[in-house]
């Protein structure tokens, strides 16, 4: 039985609304099975096309979600965490190797102390839940959890817990990575990279000529093994980047701003975005391929004409006799 059925979604709603009917329908085992089958089909179809390597998500809208449904703030964050597991599952099953989430911004320290503590607690709880024992999500699916951001700002007890999570999931180092940005801002990231490069210069590890875009790239928190960002998603309709991965997302990256609140962002929402990306990627590669072919052909004929001409008569010149 679905536990959601017993909780009334809103007070003035009629007894049988479209939402409750939908929930009832989804609660049937056959329907759930069909839905699972359909999801598998969608994933196996999409796997044959281009798949992004790195997806970043700004999970916005937990508080609006809670406010709209008259739930306590914590419920909103919990619903968001549930939604996250769904999205992670979809991405990893499809073959996305790296998912980055914006869990906590350095600017978030300006919030009330209670909420900051709640968020910290929730994050610790959720990460523990993901990696606690052998059949937890991260362990079972071999997902490596990485904490990305300014670790000097994390309270010590929480940092210890987070490091334990990192350590525990580290042995399955491999294809699937979950980057948790906590506490992170991109400007802090860039500044940190500049600082570490300066330190290396002082220690004479590198020369001035070695400083280039790639060195800056790998000096950031994400490190050299993170693939370039392909898609950045922000939910709940704000069209701002809010200091998240601004260095990584401004070149050859698809930005998606969706109006859905994060707790409502489910399997088919993420799939629609990935599908769209795959569509444009296919078109782009095809177009480039055709353009390249035509160009190569033109170039070839231009060269061949000169080579194919019959040999000219011998030179007779007045200057070099």
């Amino acid at each position: 039985m679905n536990p959601n059925l017993s909780t009334p979604s809103s007070t003035q709603a009629p007894l049988v609304s479209a939402g409750t009917l939908k929930k009832l329908l989804f609660a049937f085992p056959l329907f759930a099975y069909l839905q699972g089958f359909f999801k598998d089909l969608v994933i196996s179809i999409m796997k044959t096309g281009p798949v992004p390597q790195h997806v970043a998500v700004i999970m916005d809208g937990n508080r609006t979600f809670a406010r709209k449904r008259n739930l306590p703030l914590k419920e909103g964050h919990t619903a968001g965490a549930e939604s996250l597991v769904g999205v992670l599952d979809a991405c990893y099953r499809l073959g996305v190797s790296c998912v980055t989430i914006y869990a906590f911004s350095i600017e978030n320290f300006h919030r009330s102390k209670e909420e900051v503590d709640t968020l910290f607690g929730l994050l610790r709880e959720k990460l523990n839940y993901l990696s606690q024992n052998e059949d937890s999500y991260a362990m079972y699916n071999k997902v490596q959890v990485k904490i990305i951001g300014n670790k000097a700002m994390i309270p010590e007890d929480i940092l210890k817990d987070l490091e334990r999570v990192e350590e525990r999931t580290n042995h399955n180092f491999g294809k699937r990575v979950l980057n948790v940005c906590f506490p992170y801002t991109s400007r802090d990231d860039i500044t940190g990279a500049i600082r570490s490069i300066s330190e290396k210069r002082i220690n004479h590890e590198i020369n001035k000529e070695d400083i280039n875009m790639d060195l800056l790239d790998i000096s950031m928190y994400f490190g050299p093994e993170t693939p370039p960002l392909d898609i950045m998603i922000r939910t709940s309709g704000h069209t701002r980047l809010s200091d998240f991965m601004i260095w990584q997302c401004n070149y050859d990256c698809t930005l998606e701003f969706v109006d859905t609140l994060w707790p409502d962002f489910k399997f088919f929402d993420i799939m629609a975005i990935l599908f769209k990306w795959g569509y444009y990627k296919t078109l782009e590669t095809e177009k480039l391929k055709h353009l390249g072919k035509r160009k190569a052909k033109l170039h070839q004929t231009a060269q061949d004409i000169l080579k194919d001409l019959p040999a000219h008569p011998p030179y007779r010149s007045v200057s070099d006799r």
Partner: protein
Amino acid sequence: MSIGNTDETVATDAIVPDSITATALPANGDGLVSRKPTARVQVVKPLEVSTDTAQKHPPNSLRNTGIVSVFFWLVDELRRFIGGGSSSAANDSKSTGSTSTINLFITYFNHAILLIIFFIISIYKNYLYVRRRIHLKFLNLTYFPNKSPHIIRDDVNKLSRIPKRVSCIVNFKDEEEENGGIDGLINDISELTAWSVSAGIQELSIYEYNGVINDYYLELNRYINKNLKNYFGTEYVPNISIKSPHSSKVLVNKPEKPIDLYVNLLSKVDGKPTIVELTKTISELAINRELSVKDITIDLINDELVELVGSEPDLMIIFNPNLDLQDYPPWHIRLTELYWEPDNKDITYAVFIRALQNYAKAKVNVGK
């Protein structure tokens, strides 16, 4: 000179150019700032050359394509997929027997379905394209500035607030296209300038990926002033300052008067390459013990980049068919509100005013 399609009324010889004073960027400030231009010019230049030959267009610039060509490409793609797949899978099928052939068949089948869905999407996208274009045409009829600052100010005064700094990403179109080439770009920028002055915006940044406009400095200035005279009359023309941070050129028409609008011309060299140069300068200073590593803070970097490139814009209008930042200076898009109109290629007043309307509606809460 054929500039644009909207300015037939302008007589080229009737306008006397203003007293133009081109001044070099004043090298004010202390050590850190003044030594930068020389360092930047040295190393940014080879970078520029290498990227120019590699690719002229910004990434992702191709979006809308005809249904027929999409169909042919997809068929081609499927053929290649099957051809490539069978050759590589031939070794596997020998070892594992019949199961892999079934798997192979399922993969082809799935890929075929994927391509069929792609084809349906391409039909849908073309439908959307037509619908959006009609919508935009309609909007262009509704919002027409008619070269009158009063109309623009009236439109703007309906809003609760406006941005102080606006940045626009513009595209350099082909010569053959309507309103294309360098003349078209100059025309577009001068229109944007006039709208911004009328709306009361203080600073306008124009970002063009390759920075072609930097070579047409004086022409741009002349045309902007010509266009402003169409809006404001020949007696009191607003005072504009045009600046290109990379080549450190500043152009002010009437240096003795207060400036009504600062125009900033940006290109991709003002983005990541500038941050790389800054890193070099800072690390040099750190080696010479003029700056301690502890003092490298966000504020320091921010001050330097504001000096080198400009302030962070409040609103960015992307005049592109799709949302693509085209390597825009990354430091400067932290909290910028982004606005773009899907499937729009042209720089029109309707898009401009809608961006401002959208900005007035948006809620900004840093970290909250």
